[in-house]
């Protein structure tokens, strides 16, 4: 009869960030180890809180499945002597398998006959194999950082303090260092006292419930989510939608009770990003907003316990937040006293990189790069660009950004607003860091786009120029992210930037530094690097590899144009016309791919069909080229489909590889013209 299995690893509080993966790994590893041990079950479920990882296997068979064990021995030829009697080797093998020689079987393996010892092994009782299996499951867990404790050499995320291992109603004995498994668990750290005896899985679930532990993470998360919404609604608002914070809190508490706390509205004078960052990062509180999206002077915390002590907990948390906000208000006021023009000069004491100078040097480069890009793409006032470039790094020396580095750019914008800078300048300061991560917002103002590109191009160019490139998972200067930003902006904002020129300019602005790479090398390497990011962005957007490759092969430099082509080719590839198109392309390309000339000597042509094909092709060429110029790639491809009957007739009548070299050359040249025409949009030889 099948029974339920429980393994609970009782630990000191595991970091919440480790938990989702630990729970998933526990499940995967259990499935693997159980199946390796030939133990079948109905279902496997894993749960976790900060203090426990629980594996519950439902309907685990009482015995291992029987196994057939096959061991290959010597070749048959070696197992018998000349008289056909068992040889020494044959007898030896049988003995080593604990079998009579006569019980061995002869089977073929890789074309040769071998002696095989085949025997059935009866499955052992699960209770016998489980200790080892469970131990292996525990040992197979790994964490981003693990530790030793006491006299133990075993490593885990945090010390293991108890183990529960029960199959049916029976204890499974196992031992990890000095911890011996038992039929017991612990309840909530503060609302329960000491070890609790448990009989089986059902009893375990029941006892935890009674001792203030909500084991199921999904259930806990749903409760927290419901509670914070209710608390916010009672205060006339909505909690910030923040899945990451919700997950973190889910693994910080075993028995959640949300509460609303408030702070003095006078702190709302501080920019809301500062307040919310302090609440979330420092205190794990949910900020609350009113219907209009305005921050309310309150927060929602989640107590690890019941509501009985909630007033004390609320008061304590309010005091802590008040001290934090007091600090923030102090920094804000201090920062508002600063003369930002002077602050920029002080950036000469902040090192950007030992070989690339100070942040002040970088500002000078940004001013030059941004001006050059602005001139190139137009549509923006030069004084705005220059001012924004000058000010954009100043907030690095503000007290607020020192305290909250993630607010860089956001604070810069606020300080610029407060000191009366023009709106475009303020926004560009914020936008020059965008996008900060994949999927982040993009700069939307013209000045923001220019400055963001200038910043990223300087970053990439300067590091490439001193020979620093990401390798494997090592990318300490976040060059991939910068390249991703450039590619995304070019794809989605279409600023019309000429990257080669911009990178060349950025390189020229490094002239005061000692560089390792030449201008040409840096341009090629940087563009290539951005192109790789572009490729992965396009792949993430769902375009298939072959289409991306085909377009990259035909058109490698104008990134903004690429997606248009990829879109058109993808669309065309799925249309009914694709088949005819590929007939035209393949018949033309197969013969002409190693032929380079498309010069036709009309005089030597003989057959009707080849003359007509040539006329059709030459007639079509200007139309196709015109469509491509208009970036109407689907139209261009459709036109080529018209060639199908001409191509078919040509191949029906004409022998391309004729002995007459001149004739052959002209026929191949016609085909080459067709292939080239197709490849103006994308290299269709790469389409699968």
């Amino acid at each position: 009869m099948a029974k339920d299995l429980l393994l609970e690893i009782g630990v000191e509080e595991i970091p919440s960030a480790y938990m989702p993966k630990a729970i998933a790994d526990l499940k995967d590893n259990a499935a693997l180890k159980l199946s390796q041990a030939r133990l079948s079950c109905h279902s496997i479920n894993c749960f976790g809180t900060a203090r426990r990882l629980a594996l519950i296997v439902n309907g685990l068979d009482e015995y291992q499945a029987d196994a057939v064990i096959e061991n290959r021995g010597p070749k048959k030829a070696a197992a018998f002597d000349a008289e056909g009697n068992p040889s020494k080797a044959g007898i030896g093998f049988a003995r080593s398998q604990g079998m009579e020689f006569t019980s061995l079987e002869i089977r073929e393996y890789a074309g040769t006959e071998y002696m095989y010892a085949v025997r059935k092994e009866k499955g052992a009782a699960s209770v016998q194999v489980l200790p080892e299996v469970l131990k292996e499951i525990i040992q197979s867990l790994s964490f981003p950082k693990s530790m030793r404790w006491g006299y133990n050499q075993f490593r885990f995320a945090r010390p293991i303090r108890w183990l529960a291992a029960i199959y049916g109603n029976q204890l499974i004995d196992l031992k990890i260092e000095n911890i011996v498994s038992g039929m017991h668990t612990m309840g909530h750290r503060f609302l329960s006292d000491g070890m609790i005896e448990i009989k089986n899985v059902a009893d375990y679930r029941e006892k935890l419930q009674k001792h203030y532990v909500i084991l199921n993470q999904q259930e806990r998360k749903a409760i927290i989510s419901r509670q914070i919404k209710a608390e916010a609604a009672a205060a006339g608002g909505e909690p910030m939608d923040n899945e990451e914070l919700l997950d973190e809190i889910t693994y910080l508490v075993e028995y959640p009770t949300a509460f609303y706390g408030s702070f003095d509205p006078s702190y709302l004078e501080v920019p809301s990003e500062v307040l919310t960052t302090s609440m979330i990062e420092h205190q794990r509180y949910f900020p609350v907003f009113d219907q209009a999206g305005k921050l309310l002077p309150g927060f929602i915390g989640v107590n690890n316990g019941t509501a009985s002590n909630i007033d004390v907990v609320r008061a304590g948390n309010e005091r802590v937040l008040k001290a934090r906000l007091e600090d923030a208000l102090f920094f804000w006021k201090e920062d508002l006293k600063k003369d930002w023009d002077q602050v920029v000069e002080k950036l000469d004491s902040v090192l950007f990189h030992e070989r690339l100078g100070t942040v002040r040097d970088k500002v000078t480069r940004l001013q030059k790069n941004a001006a050059a890009i602005a001139k190139q793409i137009g549509g923006v006032e030069m004084t705005i660009i220059d001012r924004a470039a000058f000010l954009c790094k100043a907030d690095l020396l503000s007290s607020m950004v020192y305290e909250f580095p993630e607010l860089q750019g956001i604070m810069g914008r606020y300080y610029a607003i407060e000191t009366g800078e023009r709106e475009e300048v303020c926004n560009a300061i914020y936008e020059h860091y965008l996008p900060r991560f994949a999927g982040d917002e993009l700069p939307s103002s013209r000045a923001g786009i220019v400055l963001s590109l200038a910043e990223k191009i300087d970053h990439l160019t300067s590091f490439f120029a001193i020979g620093i490139k990401p390798s494997g998972s090592q990318d300490p200067y976040a060059l991939r992210r910068q390249a991703m930003g450039i590619a995304t902006i070019i794809l989605d904002e279409r600023p019309g930037i000429d990257l080669m020129t911009a990178i060349g300019n950025a390189y020229d602005n490094l002239s005061a530094l000692k560089l390792d790479r030449s201008r040409d090398e840096v341009i090629t390497e940087t563009i290539d690097f951005i192109r790789q990011r572009l490729r992965s962005i396009l792949t993430e957007r769902g375009y298939s590899y072959d289409v991306i490759d085909a377009v990259f092969a035909a058109q490698a430099n104008d990134f903004a144009d690429m997606e248009q082509r990829i879109k058109s080719v993808t669309e065309f590839k799925n249309s009914t016309e694709m088949e005819d198109f590929m007939v035209v392309y393949n018949r033309a390309n197969n013969l002409s791919k190693s032929w380079s000339s498309d010069e036709v000597n009309k005089e030597v042509l003989q057959e009707d069909t080849e003359i007509r094909l040539l006329e059709a092709v030459t007639g079509l060429m200007p139309q196709v080229k015109n469509s491509i110029q208009q970036k109407e790639y689907t139209a261009a491809l459709r036109k080529i489909v018209e060639l199908r009957p001409y191509v078919d007739a040509f191949f029906d009548q004409v022998m391309v590889m004729t002995p007459d070299p001149q004739l052959k050359a002209s026929r191949l040249a016609i085909l080459k013209m067709i292939a080239n025409m197709c490849n103006l949009t994308a290299d269709f030889s790469k389409i699968v």
């Binding site: 000191e12 006491g150 002590n309 004390v312 907990v313 304590g316 005091r319 008040k322 030992e354």
Partner: protein, 302 residues
């Protein structure tokens, strides 16, 4: 409960748990971890239990006595339990009860915090312990110290005394803490906070400090070479404090910073190695299990 009573209660409690109650070490240091009763004793195989108050200096945290929560000189209450006992968290929670904090009445949370001291070549995993959202204690299982693996592993419990006192006494400013009857924290420390802030940020002679750093570094190595462990360690502490002062004067660039940290870490490693040798040559006297002691002494490396 006033400030000194909190300290007395903690000393009494940890003394009852078998800790040696030591006194602060008589040199400037950034944290209780740097007291040789932690930094050196955490090394090697010998068990050790100690508790002490440690005046700690962080020159960059000075605020001229104007910020209610930040000080350049403050107090830690430090406990080392080596090896870390299985019920170490309960021992800690019981200590809170002794100073009037009943965990059942509050929200006490163990929030991941991994401690690292690049200058000491030390790191460990553990938590910040939160009391209703406020960090009151740092709890660390030492994994490495002086660049040597710790075995057995010790648990380090570091109480932030001022924060705990502010909470217990319901004060909004550290300076309002009642130290003893009729005497506040401000009475004891306010003027020194103002003066040290000025010294640390404005007056400390950068060139002299840099020169002193080099002298102390040389002295540490010279003394260590003569196998005088704690005298050598004194100069490591001096180097560490001089580095902090230079940092407060903003006299160290990012690149120089790494260089200074490496220099101090190197000294810490040298002294840690000397300490391990010395304990072994003394026969690991704190190991009471004779068989274990002999076995460890026979091992090639301490």
């Amino acid at each position: 409960m006033n400030f000194q009573e909190i300290i007395l209660k903690l000393q009494e409690y940890w003394g009852q748990q078998g800790c040696v109650i030591q006194q602060p070490y008589d040199l400037e240091k950034g944290a209780g971890t740097m007291n040789p009763a932690t930094f050196l004793r955490a090394l090697g195989p010998e068990p050790w239990k100690v508790a002490y108050v440690e005046p700690s200096r962080r020159p960059t945290d000075g605020r001229y006595g104007e910020n209610p929560n930040r000080l350049q000189h403050y107090y830690q209450f430090q406990v080392i339990l080596k090896p870390s006992p299985d019920d170490v968290i309960d021992l800690y929670l019981n200590s809170l009860k002794k100073i009037g904090i009943n965990p059942q009445e509050h929200d006490i949370r163990l929030v991941e915090d991994n401690w690292e001291s690049p200058t000491l070549g030390a790191w460990g995993l553990g938590w910040e312990i939160w009391l209703d959202g406020m960090e009151i204690t740092q709890f660390t299982y030492f994994q490495q110290c002086g660049s040597y693996d710790c075995f057995p592993v010790c648990a380090e419990i570091t109480y932030g005394l001022e924060r705990i006192a502010m909470y217990i006494q319901n004060k909004e400013s550290v300076y309002d803490i009642e130290w003893a009857d009729g005497i506040t924290y401000a009475d004891v420390h306010h003027q020194t906070e103002v003066d040290y802030s000025r010294y640390n940020f404005e007056l400390a002679d950068v060139q002299a400090l840099a020169a002193m750093f080099s002298i102390c570094e040389k002295e540490a190595l010279q003394v260590a070479e003569n196998n005088l462990v704690q005298p050598a360690y004194d100069y490591v502490l001096k180097c560490s404090h001089l580095f902090n002062l230079l940092d407060a004067r903003a006299a160290i660039s990012v690149t120089e910073r790494t260089g200074y940290i490496l220099r101090v870490r190197n000294l810490a490693r040298v002294v840690a190695g000397k300490y391990l040798e010395q304990r072994k040559s003394l026969g690991f006297p704190l190991i009471k299990d004779e068989a274990l002691r002999r076995q460890l002494l026979e091992e090639k490396e301490a």
